[in-house]
């Protein structure tokens, strides 16, 4: 574990959804790598934490999974985003953008010199 940025669960779920939406069906390893790559190696996740998040998303119906065989002949569970998942994603994206925008405005405030 490198001392980069901590990822909390809610955000991780959003990243997973976004990744699956962009890349189509993926297995756990693929998702984890993709997240690392996208963050430009700024973000390193403990790959093991991914699985409970995947399960939770599946329980919510946001993603679905099935067993398959990968290019190099490994058995793996492939996850794909569902209609419900896309709806979640749109809603959360909008909310996220809004939040960052608001926070961004506050960050842009100039301090008064004493």
């Amino acid at each position: 574990m490198s001392a980069k940025t901590d990822v909390w669960q809610g955000t991780l779920a959003l990243m997973v959804l976004k990744t699956l939406n962009a890349m189509g069906p993926q297995h756990g390893y693929g998702i984890a790598r993709r997240i690392e790559q996208t963050s430009g190696a700024l973000l390193s996740i403990n790959h093991g934490t991914l699985y409970p998040v995947l399960l939770k998303l599946e329980q919510e119906g946001a993603i679905a999974s099935e067993w398959g065989v990968s290019d190099n002949n490994r058995r793996a569970r492939f996850y794909r985003i569902t209609r419900v998942g896309r709806k979640h994603l749109t809603a959360e994206e909008a909310q996220w953008t809004q939040t960052t925008e608001i926070v961004g405005r506050f960050m842009a405030l100039k301090g008064v010199k004493p």
């Binding site: 574990m1 297995h27 756990g28 390893y29 984890a32 403990n46 790959h47 093991g48 934490t49 699985y51 409970p52 399960l55 939770k56 599946e58 329980q59 919510e60 119906g61 990968s70 190099n72 490994r74 058995r75 793996a76 569970r77």
Partner: protein, 877 residues
């Protein structure tokens, strides 16, 4: 929220279906790690190092698996399932305990559920009338003639209330009388009522077939119409729809059936479940329409207008009431009283039912306490197991939950059996018990009863489980583990807890025993009270001479004359007589008697009876002075008074026989004799009573009483005589007078019996509890006892020591129980007869019984203690 529900649902499913199994996850993780390793291998790392690095990057596999598992199912549910499995194992390991627990719980919950279903149907459920809160029973008060007694209603008054009180919507009247149905088969006498045409509408009841009565059918001449109950319609007319419109014979006269009312319909009555089978229009006779005062002979229901207040209606009625005495030149403070319908119907049953509920509640409490006690003794033997589990990291909450799961499981099993038992008990109540309760036919196990039973079950499980569970988990595991070894005496705290539970059990048992004792001695005193008559060897038959055949007085008189002659001639019959109302059937026919020319204030209300000359001989009622009436008295007014009645009319005269007074029919009577006072109901003092010969006002309802040494033979003879006289006369059951007396105390006998059963079972359970605790303490102190013996203590000393200690909580509980009983028993004062709620004999008796039972329960383990072999006990270490 929907997401959360969905998640919950799939997790619930996941618990059972195991779609994402551990194997799947392991496979997934393995692939994942291989991929991670591949990256490094491609970069040239040796596989060993690559795998190590991959594992590090993946993070803790076990932690991932664990969190995955938590996310997968419902941990709470899984723990519950686990606890349940554990509980079932525990229950099966201890079959004896389980049987005792389930059985006692089933009985406790079953009896409580059954009694609740009674209370619910009789007291709690709203009456089956439309908007019953606006319906009241009206009574009148005429202080001058009748003092504080609540009277029926004069029909003229009822009419005026309806007409003149703005808050009164309607007033309906009824009068009850048994009627004879001579149509279609065997003649029968059934309960009937005459009702005003508005009564059904007033109660919001629609006939299920046909129509109600019309106003014009209350006019004499139009009144030959009838409404049948559904029950009669089904049983006697095979539910034939064409009965409506048909003509049937009631009391020997043709009546057209115009409607049928539902079987559940009742004219409200107090404390009983009387169902009328035939309704006819109430015709007020012409001579009564002119009577402004007196004639308080009708039962009146008042419906108050919606939005109006009962108090307002009552004050309006009392304004009207004030006019009647004035208009007939009387001065009396005539008042009306309104009784809420629910109170009127259920009032008489309330105390008895609540007492019963309290008693069964107490029984269940004892069951709980006893189970808690048993569980505590098991907890002692299981404290090692618990300690080990605690040492291995089980949290206290978790252990507590597990212990509670076991008791709840027991409670649920007991509850299920309890509900089955309740259904059976209710059946028994309905068939076999002499319960004169309103609405008793509506008792059943329904949703509210089931809800009560479930709630009670959970509560029971919590009550008897919480204390042992708490005790079990409070132990310091280290101490508990050490205590398991032989060198340290264990569980002093547990013992103290168990002793206080014993105290509680004994206290509740004491209370129940005292209640049962009070009710029991009431019953005994009631049965041995001086009734004023002798019920041995007397047969009774109720006869009703209704209908056109007996409409003429001469016909009735002829019939009665012949009946008396023939019944007296039955071989073996000592004497036969008739009377209008048997003793023990209550105070009836209350009308004033007075001295001629006396002011109205000196009229005295007495019970009036018409009887035949032999009546006093048949009933063995002592003639104190003068004589009974005789055949030679025909043609002149004579009467016999009871001692009290004579004393009221002539307070100073020791022998007023031969003096004159005015009878209830306002004609002059010569007093020919004075007889002993007779109780009209066992629990009340004998009322002043006047007796007149039957030929002075030939009644249409009489009871034939026959004194005979052989009751069965006499019954046959009486039946034959009646058949010969009138083959169409319905003959109800022929009863012995003893039976009649017993029936009047059936309700008490039932209360007393059920209370005794409860008290006895409470005592039994408590004595088992005492035994259990003392045995436990003896086993615990085996070493100590051995040492004492070795040091020279005598065996009797040991015996005394154990008993003294075992009896300590019993005595404390006993004192507490007596104190509580003294406080509580005052509330059942009305159920008692000639016994004070603080009756010292009862309390002393109960104390002795409990002390003896307590000592016996201690004795067995105490003897075991005394028989301790010092050497063996010490070697046991």
């Amino acid at each position: 929220v929907r997401r959360a529900i969905r998640r919950g649902w799939t997790r619930l499913i996941g618990t059972f279906l195991r779609r994402h199994t551990d194997r799947d996850l392991a496979q997934e993780i393995e692939s994942h790690i291989e991929w991670l390793a591949d990256e490094d291998i491609r970069r040239g790392l040796p596989p060993d190092a690559a795998y190590r690095r991959a594992r590090i990057r993946f993070g803790s596999v076990e932690s991932a698996k664990e969190r995955y598992r938590d996310q997968r199912g419902l941990p709470t549910l899984e723990i519950l399932v686990h606890d349940l499995r554990h509980a079932i194992r525990g229950i099966r390991r201890n079959p004896a305990f389980t049987v005792v627990a389930v059985l006692s719980l089933a009985i406790g919950i079953g009896v409580n559920t059954a009694i609740f279903s009674l209370v619910d149907a009789v007291l709690l459920r709203p009456l089956a009338y439309e908007d019953p809160n606006r319906v009241f029973v009206a009574r009148e008060l005429d202080p001058q003639l009748f003092g504080e007694r609540l009277l029926g209603v004069n029909p003229v008054h009822a009419r005026e209330w309806a007409a003149r009180c703005p808050s009164v919507e309607d007033v309906g009247l009824t009068q009850r009388a048994n009627v004879q149905l001579t149509d279609a088969g065997e003649p029968v006498s059934v309960a009937g009522a005459r009702i005003t045409h508005n009564l059904l509408a007033l109660l919001g009841v629609e006939p299920i077939r046909g129509r109600g009565f019309r106003a014009d059918e209350e006019q004499a001449g139009n009144h030959h119409v009838a409404i049948l109950s559904e029950t009669l319609w089904r049983s006697r007319f095979d539910a034939d729809p064409s009965v409506v419109g048909r003509t049937i014979l009631i009391d020997g006269e043709s009546h057209e059936v115009v409607g049928i009312v539902a079987a559940s319909f009742r004219v409200p009555s107090s404390g009983a479940n009387r169902r009328d089978e035939i309704f006819r229009p109430l015709v007020i006779p012409d001579d009564e329409i002119g009577r402004m005062m007196g004639n308080y002979n009708y039962f009146a229901l008042v419906r108050v207008k919606s939005g109006a207040i009962a108090g307002q209606a009552l004050s309006e009625m009392n304004v009207v009431q004030a006019r009647f005495p004035k208009s007939s030149g009387v001065t009396t403070d005539l008042k009306a009283v309104l009784i809420p319908l629910h109170e009127f119907v259920t009032g008489a049953s309330r105390l008895g039912l609540w007492t019963l509920s309290a008693a069964v509640g107490a029984v269940l409490l004892i069951v709980c306490v006893n189970l808690a006690n048993l569980l505590l003794s098991r907890a002692a033997s299981r404290s090692r197991e618990t300690a080990i589990r605690a040492a291995l990291g089980a949290s206290r909450r978790r252990l507590f939950r597990q212990a509670l799961t076991e008791s709840l499981l027991l409670a649920v099993i007991g509850g299920v059996f309890g509900v089955l038992l309740a259904g059976w008990i209710i059946e028994l109540f309905l068939i076999a018990m002499p319960l004169e309760l309103p609405r008793i036919d509506q008792v059943r196990v329904d949703i509210s009863v089931l809800a009560f039973a479930s709630g009670l079950t959970i509560l029971t499980g919590l009550i008897f489980g919480a204390l042992p569970a708490w005790r079990l988990t409070r132990d310091d595991p280290q101490e508990a583990l050490r205590a398991g070894s032989h060198t340290v005496t264990q569980g002093r705290r547990t013992l103290r807890l168990r002793e206080s539970l014993i105290g509680l059990e004994v206290a509740v048992s004491t209370g129940l025993l005292i209640m049962a004792g009070l009710l029991g001695s009431s019953l005994v005193r009631l049965l041995h009270v001086d009734k004023g008559f002798d019920h041995d060897r007397v047969l009774t038959v109720d006869l009703s001479l209704a209908g056109s055949k007996y409409a003429k007085v001469e016909r009735r008189e002829q019939f009665l004359d012949r009946l008396l002659a023939n019944a007296g001639a039955i071989p073996g019959v000592e004497a036969a007589a008739i009377v209008t109302h048997l003793p023990t059937r209550g105070e009836t026919w209350n009308d004033p008697i007075y001295l001629e020319g006396a002011p109205r204030a000196h009229k005295h209300t007495v019970n009036n009876r018409y009887a035949s000359p032999e009546y006093f001989r048949v009933m063995n009622i002592a003639v104190r002075q003068g004589r009974s009436f005789e055949e030679s008295d025909r043609g002149r007014g004579v009467a016999v008074l009871s001692e009290r009645a004579a004393k009221i009319l002539w307070p100073g005269d020791p022998n007023p026989v031969g003096r004159l007074f005015m009878g209830e029919d306002d004609t002059v009577k010569t007093l020919v004799g004075i007889v002993a006072d007779v109780r009209a109901s066992l629990q009340n003092d004998p009322p002043p009573t006047a007796y007149y010969p039957y030929w002075q006002r030939v009644p249409d309802g009489v009871t034939l009483v026959v004194r005979n040494s052989d009751l069965t033979a006499a019954a046959e003879g009486v039946r034959a005589v009646l058949r010969r006289e009138d083959a169409e006369l319905p003959i109800p059951a022929i009863r012995s007078m003893e039976d009649v007396v017993n029936r009047s105390v059936e309700q008490r006998r039932f209360q007393m019996g059920i209370m005794s059963i409860f008290a006895a079972s409470a005592l039994l359970v408590s004595s088992l509890g005492i035994y259990g605790v003392v045995s436990y303490s003896v086993a615990r102190r085996r070493n100590e006892l051995g040492v004492r013996l070795a040091l020279g203590a005598s065996r009797s000393r040991l015996l005394g020591l154990v008993i003294r200690q075992g009896m300590k909580p019993v005595v404390v509980g006993l004192l507490a129980g007596v104190a509580v009983a003294l406080l509580v028993s005052r509330t059942i004062r009305n159920l008692l007869f000639e016994v004070q709620p603080s009756d010292p004999m009862t309390i002393a008796g109960v104390t002795i019984v409990l002390l003896v039972v307590g000592i016996l329960a201690c004795l067995i383990p105490a003897r075991r203690a005394a028989a301790t072999d010092a050497v063996a006990a010490l070697r046991f270490q």
